[in-house]
Amino acid sequence: MNDRAGCDPFGVPPTPHALELSHVVKRYGEITAVNGLDLVVPDGACVGLLGPNGAGKSTTMRMLTAQTIADEGQITVLGHELPGDSKAARARMGVVPQLDNLDTTLTVEQNLVVFSHLYRVPKARRKAAIERVLKIANLGERRDSKVDELSGGMRRRLLIGRALIHQPQLVLLDEPTVGLDPQVRQELWALIDLLRSEGVSILMSTHYIEEAERLCDSVTIVSHGSAVAVGAPADLVVEHAGRDAVEIYGSPERLVEVEAEMAKEGFPTRRTGTSIAVLGLDDAAGRAPAGERRPANLEDVFVLLTGEEIA
C-alpha cells in the first residue's frame, strides 16, 4: 500500500516475518485447542491457515489480537511480543472477523469514521483514509446507506475495508468468504489479491481449499491444534498426494473393498463422498488402479493429512 511508512508509528525495525508463532499451546480445561502450533507469515506473503472446524484456527486468530492468551509458546507480530506488546501490534494490523460485527444502524461512512478513530488515523488523514477505503471496497456510491440495507457481499467488503482504514502492514482474515455465494466470493478474492499485490502481509484462515489454492503463497494445514504440513499449495500436493489421483466409483461396499486393496498395495486413499481417490501414484508404474485419472489437488492433501471430512 502507498505511504505505509506513515502508519508504522512505533519505530519497530522491519523483521523478515510479519508474524511468528512458536510452540504455541492453548488449553481450555481438558481440551487442548492449540497444541504446539508453529506458524510463520513472511513479510509481504499471503499465508493460509487451513484446517477443519475445531482445528484451532479461530483460537489462533484470537491469540494474535491477545483476546485469547496462550498458555505456552511465543507469539511475535510485526516485531512485537504478545501479549505484552499486543496494543502496538494491533495498531499496525487489520482484522477481518468471521462474524459480521458492523454497526448495523450506522451508514457505511459512519462505520469507517468510527474505525478511523479506533485505529488512530490522524485527523488530517482521516477523510482521505475513508475515501481510499470506499474506493478499495467499491462502496463509494453506498457511503450513505445504512449497513442494514447492504447485501451480504457489500457487508463483507465493508468489513474488509474497515480493517484497512489505517493502512495496516498485516491483515488477519478469519474465514473471509464463509457462507457467501460463488460470485461474491470471487469479488472478495479479487479484493484480497489486490492487497497481496500491494505487499500487505496476510494470514487467512479458511476451510475452503480453492480459496487457499488461489490466494496463498503458502499454507499451513492444521489438525487438532498442530501444524501437520507447511508449504506452497502446489508443492504440498506433489509431496503428499503426487501429481495424479485416480478416482474409483462404485457401491459403498465396493469402495470399502477398494480402500482395503489400495492399503495393501501401499497407496494412500481418501474418500470424496461418491468415490475413493487413490493418491501417491507417481512411482506406481503398472500398479496404478483403473479409474478416472485427474490431477491431484490440495483437497486431497487436506483430507489425507487431517483425516477429517471438510465441514
Binding site: 508509528p9 496494543k87 495498531a91 462474524l99 460485527n101 448495523t104 479506533l118
Partner: protein, 265 residues
C-alpha cells in the same frame, strides 16, 4: 519538532485516543437512536414525579420540611440518573458482547478492555448527567424554586451516573445470561431505588434500614441533589460526594475485572 504526536507514541494504559475512539463510536451510534432513549429517559422519571407528587402530594403536603412536590422532584433526579445509566450499561454491554460481537471488533483495534469500559461508562455518565436534570426542570414548571446550587446537579449526576454505569457493566460481565438480569433488577436495584429517600424520608424506617441506606449510593445522590437545590450542608455533603466518587472508582475497577474475565480468555 519536539512534541511527538499522540498517535506516534508507544501505546500505554488508559490512553486518551483509545477512550476517545470508544466515545466517538458511542456518540455516532447515539445519533441513530437518541429520540427513543431521550423519550424513555425523561418521560419515565417525569411520570414518577407526577404520579407520586400529585398522588401522595394530595395526601401529604410537607415532608421533612419540604413541599412534597419539591421533595419528589429533587429525589427523582437520582432515580433518573440510576435508570439512564445502569440499565443501558447492563443491556447494552451484554448485547454488544453476546449478539453484536462489537467488542471483538473494538479489542482487535489498539484499545484495551480497561479503555473500552472507561469510554463506555464515561459516555453513559454524560448522558445520565443531562437526563437526570429532566425531573428538576419538570419540578420547576410545577413550582420548584430554581436556585444557584442546582447548577451543581449535572456534576453530581455525572459522578453518580459513572458509578452506576460501571455497576451495570460489571453485572453484564458477571452474569452469563440476559435472563439473569431479572434477579439483579428485583433483588438489588429495586430495593436500592426504594430505600434512598426518593419518595419518602428514611427517618420513619427502622434504624438498621437507615444504617444500610448509608451504603446506598442512590441515597447519597438524593441527599446531594436535595441539598444543592435547598441549601448545602457542609461536611455532610463532602461525605456524600466523596462516597459517590469512591463508589465510582470501586465499581470502575470491578467492571474492568468482570469484562476482562469475559472478553479475554
Amino acid at each position: 519538532m519536539s512534541t511527538v504526536p499522540l498517535e506516534e507514541r508507544e501505546p500505554g494504559r488508559l490512553e486518551r485516543t483509545a477512550i476517545g475512539g470508544v466515545l466517538v463510536r458511542e456518540i455516532i451510534n447515539f445519533s441513530s437512536y437518541w429520540r427513543s432513549t431521550t423519550f424513555s429517559s425523561t418521560v419515565e422519571p417525569t411520570i414518577y414525579l407526577l404520579a407520586f407528587g400529585f398522588g401522595f402530594g394530595s395526601l401529604v403536603s410537607v415532608v421533612g420540611g419540604y413541599n412534597y412536590i419539591d421533595f419528589v422532584a429533587t429525589g427523582t433526579v437520582a432515580t433518573a440518573v440510576l435508570f439512564s445509566s445502569i440499565f443501558p450499561a447492563m443491556f447494552g454491554t451484554f448485547i454488544k458482547y453476546k449478539f453484536q460481537h462489537t467488542y471483538d471488533a473494538i479489542l482487535a483495534a489498539p484499545v484495551d478492555t480497561e479503555e473500552l469500559v472507561t469510554g463506555e461508562a464515561l459516555w453513559l455518565a454524560m448522558r445520565a448527567s443531562v437526563y437526570g436534570c429532566a425531573p428538576l426542570l419538570v419540578g420547576i414548571v410545577f413550582g420548584l424554586d430554581p436556585s444557584w446550587g442546582m447548577l451543581a446537579v449535572p456534576a453530581i449526576n455525572f459522578v453518580a451516573g459513572y458509578g452506576w454505569a460501571c455497576t451495570g457493566v460489571a453485572i453484564a460481565g458477571w452474569l452469563k445470561g440476559i435472563e439473569n438480569f431479572n434477579y439483579v433488577t428485583s433483588a438489588v436495584i429495586t430495593p436500592l431505588f426504594l430505600v434512598a429517600g426518593t419518595f419518602f424520608p428514611l427517618t420513619g424506617l427502622p434504624g438498621w434500614v437507615q444504617a444500610l441506606a448509608q451504603l446506598n449510593p442512590l441515597f447519597h445522590c438524593v441527599q446531594l441533589v436535595r441539598h444543592a437545590a435547598f441549601g448545602w450542608e457542609g461536611w455532610a455533603d463532602v461525605w456524600n460526594f466523596s462516597f459517590l466518587i469512591l463508589f465510582g472508582l470501586l465499581m470502575w475497577r470491578v467492571a474492568i475485572a468482570a469484562m476482562e474475565r469475559k472478553l479475554i480468555d
